[in-house]
Structures are given as structure tokens and as C-alpha cells.
């Protein structure tokens, strides 16, 4: 038996009624106290409690800028040669100890 469009409409009507029937449910009273207990545990919504919400709101606003800055720094880091502090200091001090220490690693 294949359902026609009218049959389907009729079934949907019945399902709608069943759906609205579901809302008639009895819920105990304990959940009220549990919620209040959880909320007290979280603390009042004063300035401190708002901290996370404010951070959450503003973080996403500045996130694209932070990502852009990180990309620029990353690109610069790739393009600029790195020189270790030891090598850098050797350029200025001309200390033979530095070169021998470095050489010993590669020998």
C-alpha cells in the first residue's frame, strides 16, 4: 500500500497531535534545588564572574587580528636568517673559545 499525498497529510496531522501530547509530562521538584545549588557553586554574576563571558566575547573579536600578527611574524621568521646567541657574541668578542666549542660539535 503506497501512501498518497492526502494520506501523508493525514499521518502528519496525527503525528503533530502525538508530538504536542508529549509536552504533558510531570517533572519532580528536586531539579529546582539542584539548579540553585549549581548556580551557587558558580558564584554571583558580579564583575569577576563576568570575566569569562567578557573574555569570550572580546577574544573572538580580536582573534583575526592576533592570527594576522602571528602570520606576519611567522613569515618574517622564515625570511630572516637565524643566528644563535653564541655565534652572534663571537662576532663581537672574537673569542677563540667559541669557535672551538662550536667546531667540537661538528667534528
Amino acid at each position: 500500500m503506497k501512501l498518497t499525498k492526502d494520506d501523508h497529510e493525514k499521518v502528519i496531522k496525527i503525528l503533530k497531535m502525538a508530538y504536542h501530547e508529549k509536552e504533558k509530562v510531570e517533572v519532580g521538584a528536586q531539579w529546582h534545588q539542584k539548579v540553585m545549588r549549581d548556580i551557587r557553586h558558580l558564584g554571583p554574576l558580579g564583575s569577576d564572574a563576568n570575566g569569562y563571558a567578557l573574555f569570550d566575547r572580546f577574544f573572538w573579536r580580536v582573534a583575526p587580528v592576533i592570527c594576522l600578527v602571528m602570520l606576519i611574524i611567522g613569515a618574517l621568521a622564515i625570511n630572516v636568517d637565524f643566528m644563535s646567541e653564541l655565534e652572534l657574541s663571537s662576532l663581537f668578542t672574537d673569542d677563540p673559545f667559541v669557535s672551538t666549542t662550536i667546531d667540537s660539535f661538528f667534528m
Binding site: 500500500m1 496525527i14 540553585m36 549549581d38
Partner: protein, 197 residues
Amino acid sequence: MEKDTDRFEDVEIVDRVMNGDINAFAHLMTRHKENVIKIVARHLPHQQVEETVQDVFVRAYQSLPTLKRKDGFKQWLATIARRTCHDFWRTRYRTQELPMSSLTDHHRSWLAQVIATESGEALFTKGRQKEAGELLDWGLAQLSADERMILELVHLEGLPGKEVARQLGLSVASVKVRAFRARHKLKKLLNRFMEEG
């Protein structure tokens, strides 16, 4: 219909909660619990209602600093309730903890009777809601979490697509496509079920 005085009272209570008066939140819960319970009960199995209602109010408390229009607390809370139900089903479907109910020949003959009668509603009022509820649960269990929520909100509650999109955080186009797909899928399921008999 929400009265203006109710809105003013909500604004006042929300202000008190925002200023650190935790106990004032109990008044908001008392004022809106019936609406939240109704929403949650429509979407979830009965044994999950109490726990989810708790979740809704705790979420609402945590998100209160983000509430932009304090006079729209009722609608804002309804959105949180629906999104919590949506999250519940997404988690359920992801963890495969979905109980698959099955239908019997009894349901098939009941459905055939519904179709045959001039007014299907008559069968519903004659103490046969159980079959309709089981048929509904069976059909919904075979849809995805998104399709399930959208079918319930668009086709069973009759909310406009734009409102559903806002409540579930989806685009209007996506809601329209999924609503059509969900209804088509349900039709196919019912057809297959009736042909099996």
C-alpha cells in the same frame, strides 16, 4: 501571549541577578519553568526531561551576561532550551546510543485505519495516542539530529524557517533544504513500512 508587565518583571529580575543576587534567579526559574519543560518534553524522551531542564537553566545563568535584550528573556531562554535539546541529539547520534524502536503489524493496521478514516484525528482521541507516539518516535529515530530538530520545529510545531534558523544557529537556506529532505525521508519511511505488510 506575554504581557508587558511580565517583561518588565523579567527585566527587573535579570538586573538583580546580573548585580550578583543569585537568589533572584529562582524567581526567573519559577516564572519560566513551565515553558522550558514543555519545550524540552516535546523534543526529548521523558526520562531525559528533568536533567535537561536543569542544564537549560544552568546554561541560561552562565550566559546571562550575553543577553542583549532583557525584555526578550522568554524567547532567549526558549532558544537556549531548543539548542540544548539539539546538542543532546547530536551527542546521542555521535555516540550511537540511540534506542531503535521497532513497529509491529499492530502499528501497520492502526496506520491503515488512520488513512482509511475520513478524519484521522478521531482515532487519536479514541485512546490510541500510544500508537501515534510510537510511530513518531520510530520515524524521528531514523533521521539525523539536525533533520529531527528541523522536522519537529518546522512541520510539527509550525515555526517559520527564519525563526528555526535563528533558534538553531543555522542559515535559512539550510533549514529549508533540511526541512524538505526530512519530510521526504519520513514519507519514504512510512511508504516502505506500509509496503512491507
